[in-house]
C-alpha cells in the first residue's frame, strides 16, 4: 500500500516529519517498506536572484551573470536563453551534486571566464524533462531552500511517497484514512473531519438493481445511482498527481474517482456507462460457462456459484473483482451509473483465486471493508463527480441490506498487564480504543465496523498494546520450570540421531543437507510410488518426497564430480518418506563413497575404495549408536545395489537395521555418477533402545591366564561365506573360544589350481581364553579337533594340507 505524505495530511493534521511518521507506522505494525522523498535530492539547492546578465566576451550564446546568493554576489556563466537580470533562480554551488547531469560541481572556467556555480533547469534537478531554460520562480527570497519553496508552493513536486506492508488482518489500513486513524490514536496528530452531506436525488434512478436469492451471501447489499449529463475527461492535476505518485495511471476522471476512493477510504467503487446497460442490473450466481471480457481485455469463464452482475445482454461485471469492458466508462461517457456494493470476503477471495485476478478491488474485498460505509462512499463519490464533471444525480437505488457486523467485547484492563506485561492505565487503554473508533461504554467495547479482524477480548489487548508501543516492553525473567540444575531434555532417539551425525563426521564424512523432494524417475528407481507426489511441484526435479537419502547424495556426488572432485565421502542424516500421509516419515542416516582412500602420497597408501570401506564406516556408526553386536546379514539388499556386492543387516529376516554395498552400475549411469560408488543406509529408529540399567558398569573380570591363539586354514567351496566358517568355529567351544577372526582368503584361478575347481582357502585365527587353569597341549588339540569338525559339518570345509 502506497500513499503520499500530502494525501495522508488530507486526513491527519500533523506536524510530524516523514521520518517520524515512518518510524511510528512500523512500530504500529504497518511496516514501512520504503520511503521515497524527492526533497532528499534537492537538499542544498537554494534560491538566488540574477542581478546583472552581460554577454560573454567570447561566446554568443553565453551570458556572464552576477547572481545574488546567500554567500554574497557570485559570477556565473550561463547558456540558458532565459537567463536575465531580475529573475529568481535555483542555484547549485561548487561542491553540490546535480542529479540530472550526475556531476558534482567545481569552480570552472567557461571560455576563459570563471563560473562559481550553476543555475539549474528542471531536468538537471530531475523534476521533469523540461530543459528549454533555467527555472524561473515567481516568488522566493535569496538563500531560501528550494525544497522548502516547493513544499510551500508546489507540494506535489516534493511529496514523499511511503509504502507499507499490510498484514492480512488490517484491511482497514488499505485506505489512507485508516492509516491516519492509527497515527492519530498514537498521538501523532488529529484526524481531520471529512464527512459530506448526502446529495439529494433529482429524479428516480431509471436503472433497477436486484439481487437473486442465490447471490445474497456473495452480495448482501448493492447501492447505485445514475448521474446524467457529466463531462468526462482528464482528472484535475492534484488527482492525477496523487494517483501517479502511488504508481497508478490516470485514465479518465470518472475512473480515477473510483481509484481515488479505493485508496482514500478502502472503498472500491465501479462506474458503468449507463447508456450501455440494457435493462436493469441483476446480481446472481453464475450457472457455469458464462464468459466476460474484463476491463483488462482478458476473457474470463465462470464456475457455478461465482457472484456476477449482469444486464439483459449478459454478464457485465465480476462481483468485487473486476468490471467488464462492454459497459465500462470511456472519455465519451455522459451518463454514468455509480456502483457501491458490499461483497463477501471469502467468496471474493475464492473467485479471485480461481480466475487468477489480482485487482485492487479483490485485494480489499477479501480482507473485508466497512459495509456500513457503502452508501456513504456513494455519496462522497457523487459529490466529487458533481464538483468536477457536473451532471445531475438520480435518487439512490438499493438492493439487499447491509450485514450486521456489530460486535461487543468486555475490556479487562488488567489483561494487558497479565498477558503482555505492560502497565497501562485503564483510562489510557480506553482512550486508545476510542481513538481507533471503538465505542467504549464502561467495560464494554463496541467494535467499529471497519475492524472485522477484532474477534475477541485478546484483540482488544493487542490494540491497546500496539497503540502504547511494544517497543516500550521490558523483558522480565521467566522462572525456570523447575529449580536447580536443568534436566537433560533430549530423547534417547534424538541423542542417537546426533551421535550418528558426529560419528560419521569423525570418520571423515562431510554432512550434506539435500532437498526432501527429488524427481519422479529418481524416486521410482529407489522404490517410491506416486503416494508421496506433490500436486504443485516447483520444478520437474522436485516432484516426489524422497523415499531414500541416496538419490540426493548421488546428485550431490555428480555435481561435485562435475566440479573436478573425485574422492568424496558424503553423508546425510534426515527424513525419508514412505508415503504421503503424516507420519509416514523416518529419520535415517546414509553415506556415499566414491574415489580413492586418500590423496596420492609417497607411502603408496592410496587405493580405490571398495565395499569393505563402506562396511567399516557402517559398523563404526552402529557401534556409536549401540546397535546389537551381531546382526544377521542377508544377501537380499534392494535392487539399487550391486547384487553380488551388497547385503542387508537385520534383526531377524523382517526387521532391517541397515543396508550396504556397491551401488548398481545402472543407477550410477542414471545419476551421471562415475563409479564405483559404495553406500550404506542405517535406520536408527529400527534399532532397539538399550534397557536403562543405571550408570554403573558390570564388574570387570580379568583372567591372569595367558590366552592362546591357533590358526586354521580351510579349503571350502568358493561360495561358502566366511561368516559361516567363523560362526561354526566359534560354536566349537563357547566357554573357551573368546574370538574367531578371518585373516586370509586365497581365491581365484591360482587357488583353484592348487585346491581344485570351485574351491578357495579361508584362514582363521581362533583365540582360546582359559578361565581356571593353563591349557595343556591335549586341551588345545581337543578344541582344535572340534573346530575342524564343526567347520567341516557346517560348510564342508577341510583343513588345508
Amino acid at each position: 500500500m502506497k500513499f503520499t505524505l500530502s494525501w495522508l495530511k488530507s486526513h491527519l493534521d500533523t506536524t510530524a516529519s516523514v521520518d517520524e511518521i515512518a518510524e511510528t507506522l512500523t512500530d504500529l505494525g504497518l511496516e514501512v517498506e520504503g520511503v521515497e522523498n524527492p526533497a532528499e535530492k534537492l537538499r542544498g539547492f537554494t534560491l538566488a536572484r540574477v542581478a546583472e546578465a552581460a554577454q560573454h566576451p567570447d561566446a554568443n550564446r553565453l551570458r556572464v551573470c552576477m547572481v545574488d546568493t546567500d554567500e554574497g554576489q557570485k559570477q556565473i556563466v550561463c547558456g540558458a536563453p532565459n537567463a536575465r537580470a531580475g529573475i529568481t533562480v535555483v542555484l547549485a554551488k561548487p561542491g553540490d551534486y546535480v542529479p540530472g547531469i550526475d556531476t558534482t560541481l567545481g569552480v570552472g572556467k567557461i571560455r576563459g571566464v570563471e563560473s562559481h556555480g550553476m543555475m539549474c533547469s528542471e531536468r538537471e534537478l530531475e523534476l521533469s524533462e523540461e530543459h528549454d531554460g533555467i527555472i524561473e520562480l515567481p516568488s522566493g527570497s535569496v538563500g531560501q531552500s528550494f525544497a522548502d519553496w516547493l513544499a510551500e508552493h508546489d507540494p506535489a513536486r516534493v511529496d514523499p511517497v511511503i509504502e507499507i506492508a499490510i498484514t492480512p488482518n488490517r484491511g482497514d489500513a488499505l485506505g489512507v484514512r485508516g492509516i491516519a486513524r492509527d497515527l492519530a490514536a498514537r498521538g501523532l496528530g488529529t484526524l481531520i473531519d471529512r464527512d459530506c452531506d448526502p446529495v439529494p436525488g433529482a429524479f428516480p434512478c431509471p436503472i433497477t438493481v436486484t439481487i437473486d436469492d442465490d447471490a445474497r451471501a456473495g452480495c448482501p447489499v448493492f447501492y447505485g445511482r445514475l448521474i446524467r449529463g457529466v463531462t468526462n475527461g482528464p482528472s484535475p492535476r492534484w488527482l492525477q498527481d496523487q494517483l501517479r505518485a502511488i504508481g497508478l495511471r490516470p485514465i479518465s476522471f470518472l475512473v480515477d474517482v473510483t481509484n481515488f476512493f479505493t485508496f482514500d477510504r478502502n472503498r472500491p467503487l465501479h462506474v458503468f456507462d449507463a447508456d450501455k446497460i440494457r435493462g436493469g442490473l441483476r446480481v446472481h450466481a453464475a450457472q457455469g460457462d458464462e464468459t466476460l471480457v474484463g476491463l483488462d481485455d482478458k476473457t474470463y469463464r465462470f464456475d457455478p456459484g461465482m457472484t456476477l452482475i449482469s444486464d439483459a445482454d449478459g454478464v457485465e461485471s465480476i462481483a468485487g473483482v473486476m468490471g467488464g469492458l462492454r459497459t465500462g466508462v470511456t472519455e465519451d461517457t455522459v451518463n454514468v451509473f455509480v456502483e457501491a456494493a458490499y461483497f463477501d470476503p471469502v467468496r471474493t477471495a475464492l473467485t479471485g483465486r480461481a480466475l487468477k485476478v489480482n485487482s485492487d478491488a479483490r485485494y480489499r474485498f477479501e480482507r473485508g471493508i466497512d459495509p456500513t460505509w457503502t452508501p456513504i462512499g456513494l455519496e462522497h463519490a457523487t459529490r466529487m463527480i458533481l464538483d468536477h464533471a457536473g451532471g445531475e444525480p438520480s435518487e439512490v437505488v438499493m438492493a439487499g441490506g447491509p450485514p450486521d457486523v456489530a460486535r461487543t467485547y468486555r475490556l479487562d484492563t488488567d489483561r494487558v498487564q497479565s498477558l503482555v506485561g505492560m502497565a497501562i492505565a485503564p483510562e489510557v487503554q480506553r482512550a486508545s480504543l476510542t481513538a481507533l473508533g471503538f465505542c467504549v461504554e464502561g467495560d464494554l467495547a463496541h467494535v467499529p465496523p471497519w475492524r472485522g479482524d477484532v474477534q475477541g477480548e485478546a484483540d482488544l489487548v493487542e490494540e491497546v498494546a500496539r497503540i502504547a508501543s511494544l517497543t516500550r516492553l521490558k523483558g522480565q525473567p521467566m522462572a525456570r520450570a523447575q529449580a536447580g540444575v536443568p534436566k537433560p531434555i533430549l530423547t534417547p532417539m534424538q541423542v542417537r540421531i546426533g551421535a550418528a551425525r558426529r560419528a560419521l563426521a569423525a570418520r571423515g564424512f562431510n554432512e550434506c543437507v539435500t532437498y526432501s523432494f527429488i524427481d519422479g524417475a529418481a524416486a521410482k528407481t529407489f522404490g517410491a510410488t506416486d503416494a508421496a507426489r506433490l500436486e504443485n511441484p516447483i520444478s520437474a526435479e522436485m516432484t516426489h518426497m524422497r523415499p531414500d537419502l541416496l538419490p540426493g547424495l548421488l546428485q550431490a556426488t555428480a555435481r561435485n564430480q562435475a566440479r573436478g572432485m573425485a574422492d568424496l565421502s558424503l553423508f546425510e542424516v534426515g527424513p525419508v518418506f514412505a508415503g504421503g500421509e503424516p507420519g509416514e516419515q523416518e529419520t535415517v542416516a546414509a553415506g556415499l563413497l566414491v574415489g580413492a582412500s586418500g590423496p596420492r602420497d609417497p607411502h603408496g597408501a592410496r587405493r580405490p575404495l571398495d565395499v569393505f570401506d563402506a562396511k567399516a564406516d557402517l559398523e563404526a556408526v552402529m557401534v556409536a549408536l549401540g546397535a546389537p553386536a551381531k546382526p544377521q546379514m542377508f544377501r537380499d539388499a534392494p535392487a539399487w545395489f550391486h547384487p553380488g556386492r551388497s547385503a542387508r543387516l537385520g534383526l531377524g529376516p523382517k526387521k532391517t537395521i541397515a543396508v550396504f554395498g556397491e551401488l548398481h552400475p545402472r543407477v550410477l549411469a542414471q545419476f551421471d555418477v562415475k563409479g564405483p560408488a559404495l553406500a550404506f543406509v542405517l535406520y536408527p529408529e529400527a534399532l532397539p533402545l538399550p534397557r536403562k540399567t543405571g550408570a554403573a558398569r558390570p564388574a570387570l573380570v580379568l583372567s591372569d591366564l595367558q590366552a592362546v591363539e591357533r590358526d586354521f586354514a580351510f579349503v571350502v567351496d568358493a561360495d561358502v561365506a566366511a561368516q559361516d566358517v567363523v560362526n561354526a568355529a566359534a560354536g566349537a567351544d563357547k566357554a573357551l573360544i573368546a574370538g574367531v577372526s578371518v585373516f586370509d582368503e586365497f581365491t581365484g584361478d591360482r587357488a583353484a589350481a592348487q585346491m581344485g575347481a570351485g574351491k578357495k582357502s579361508l584362514a582363521i585365527a581362533v583365540r582360546l581364553q582359559p578361565t581356571d587353569r593353563t591349557l595343556t597341549d591335549k586341551d588345545i588339540d581337543a578344541v582344535a579337533a572340534k573346530v575342524v569338525e564343526k567347520v567341516g559339518r557346517a560348510t564342508g570345509g577341510v583343513l588345508r594340507g
Binding site: E366, R367, A505, G508, N536, P537, G598
Partner: protein, 359 residues
C-alpha cells in the same frame, strides 16, 4: 710399571672396535695377561717389595678395566650415532593416511545443536512433528481458515491425492507451528518446547529456497507474558551470538496464531558492507512471535481460561548465516564439497554452554 700403564692406555684409546678391545683386555688383565702374571709374581717378593708393588698393580688393573669400559661405551655410542645418521628420513614428506580429509558437520545441524543447548538450559525440550502435514494441523488449528489470505501468501506445497480420494490434500508443512498443536495435544500444559526442522514453501529466488529450516518455540503456563518472551529471546540472542546486552526491538505485527503478535528485530550495524550484530542503531528482523491465540489453545485442547503463553518461529538457516557470515542460502543445499569444508564444523565441536556454543 709406568711404561706398562702408558702402553696399554694408549692401545685402549686407539682400539677401533670391540674385538680389538677384547684382545687388549685378554693381553692385559686376562688370566694370562701381562698384569695378571705380574700379580702372580707378588708371592715371590719380599714383604717390603710386596707392600709397594701390590697396591700399585691393583690400581693399574682397575685403571685398565675402567679404560676398557669407557672405550667400549664410546664405541657403542659411536655405532648408534652412525646408525641414526643412516636412518635419516625426509619428514617433510606428507603424513600417512590423511584418508579422505576432515569430516564436517553441516552448519544447519551445528546451529540446531547450539540453539538446543541454550534453550535446554531454560527448560525447553525438543519436540518433533511430521513434515507431510494435514491442512488441519498446518492451518485450521492455527486459526488460519481456508479462505484466509495468509494461506495463499504462504506458497504452500500440496500433496497429490489419488483419484477418488476426496479428503482435503495434505501439505508440506509451511512452518514448524503445527508441532505446537501436536505437542499440546499430547502433553497438555504446562509446557516448554522448541521444535526445529525442515519447512517448505513454493518459492525459489536469490534469497528463498523451497525448503528451509525453522525453529519453533512454545511456552505455556498460568502466567507467562510477552515480557517473559522478550527476556527469553534476549537471553537467547546474547548466548547465541555471545554478545552481552544485545538489544531487541518488538514491533507490532500480525500472525493468525498469536495475539498480540510482534516481529522481533535485533540490533545491528553495517560497516563497509559487513553486517555486525549487537552494535549500532539499525535493526534486523529475525523472527515472528506473540502470545498464543486463545483459538489455537482451544484447538489443541488446552483451556485458554487457565493457560497462556508465548510462541515464536525463527529461521535456522538465517541465524546461521548471520552468525557465521555465510552469504548465500541456496548454497546450504548444494552440497559443494568446498562449501561443506569451509563452512562446516568439526565432529568434536559439540556446542555446550560450559564449553561455549560458538566455533
Amino acid at each position: 710399571m709406568d711404561d706398562l700403564r702408558n702402553r696399554y692406555l694408549a692401545a685402549i684409546a686407539g682400539a677401533g672396535d670391540e674385538s680389538a678391545l677384547e684382545a687388549l683386555r685378554v693381553q692385559a688383565v686376562g688370566k694370562k695377561g701381562e698384569i695378571s702374571l705380574k700379580m702372580r709374581e707378588l708371592g715371590k717378593m719380599t714383604p717390603e717389595e710386596r707392600q709397594a708393588a701390590g697396591p700399585a698393580l691393583n690400581a693399574l688393573k682397575d685403571e685398565i678395566n675402567s679404560a676398557l669400559a669407557a672405550r667400549k661405551a664410546a664405541l657403542t655410542d659411536a655405532a648408534l650415532e652412525e646408525r641414526l645418521r643412516a636412518e635419516w628420513l625426509d619428514v617433510t614428506l606428507p603424513a600417512r593416511g590423511v584418508a579422505r580429509g576432515m569430516g564436517t558437520i553441516h552448519p544447519v545441524s551445528q546451529v540446531m545443536e547450539e540453539v538446543t543447548a541454550i534453550f535446554a538450559d531454560m527448560g525447553f525440550a525438543v519436540a518433533e512433528g511430521p513434515q507431510v502435514e494435514s491442512d488441519w494441523y498446518n492451518f485450521d488449528a492455527l486459526n488460519i481458515p481456508g479462505h484466509h489470505p495468509a494461506r495463499a501468501e504462504m506458497d504452500t506445497f500440496y500433496m497429490a491425492r489419488a483419484s477418488g480420494d476426496n479428503r482435503p490434500p495434505h501439505v508440506l508443512r509451511t512452518h514448524t507451528s503445527p508441532v505446537q498443536i501436536r505437542t499440546m495435544e499430547a502433553q497438555g500444559a504446562p509446557l516448554r518446547i522448541i521444535a526445529p526442522g525442515r519447512v517448505y514453501r513454493a518459492d525459489y529466488d536469490q534469497t528463498h529456497t523451497p525448503m528451509f529450516h525453522q525453529i519453533e518455540g512454545l511456552a505455556i503456563d498460568r502466567d507467562i507474558s510477552m515480557a517473559n518472551l522478550k527476556w527469553v529471546l534476549e537471553e537467547f540472542f546474547a548466548a547465541f551470538f555471545e554478545l552481552d546486552g544485545i538489544k531487541t526491538r518488538f514491533r507490532a505485527s500480525h500472525f493468525p496464531f498469536t495475539e498480540p503478535s510482534a516481529e522481533v528485530d535485533i540490533q545491528c550495524t553495517w560497516v563497509d558492507g559487513q553486517l555486525r550484530i549487537g552494535e549500532g542503531d539499525d535493526w534486523l528482523e529475525v523472527l515472528g512471535s506473540g502470545m498464543v491465540h486463545p483459538k489455537v489453545l482451544e484447538a489443541a485442547k488446552v483451556d485458554p481460561a487457565q493457560w497462556q503463553g508465548f510462541a515464536f518461529g525463527m529461521g535456522i538457516d538465517r541465524i546461521a548465516m548471520l552468525k557465521y557470515g555465510i552469504p548465500d542460502l541456496r548454497a546450504f543445499f548444494d552440497s559443494d564439497l568446498r562449501w561443506l569444508r569451509h563452512y562446516g564444523f568439526s565432529a568434536l565441536d559439540v556446542p555446550t554452554l560450559h564449553g561455549g556454543v560458538s566455533r
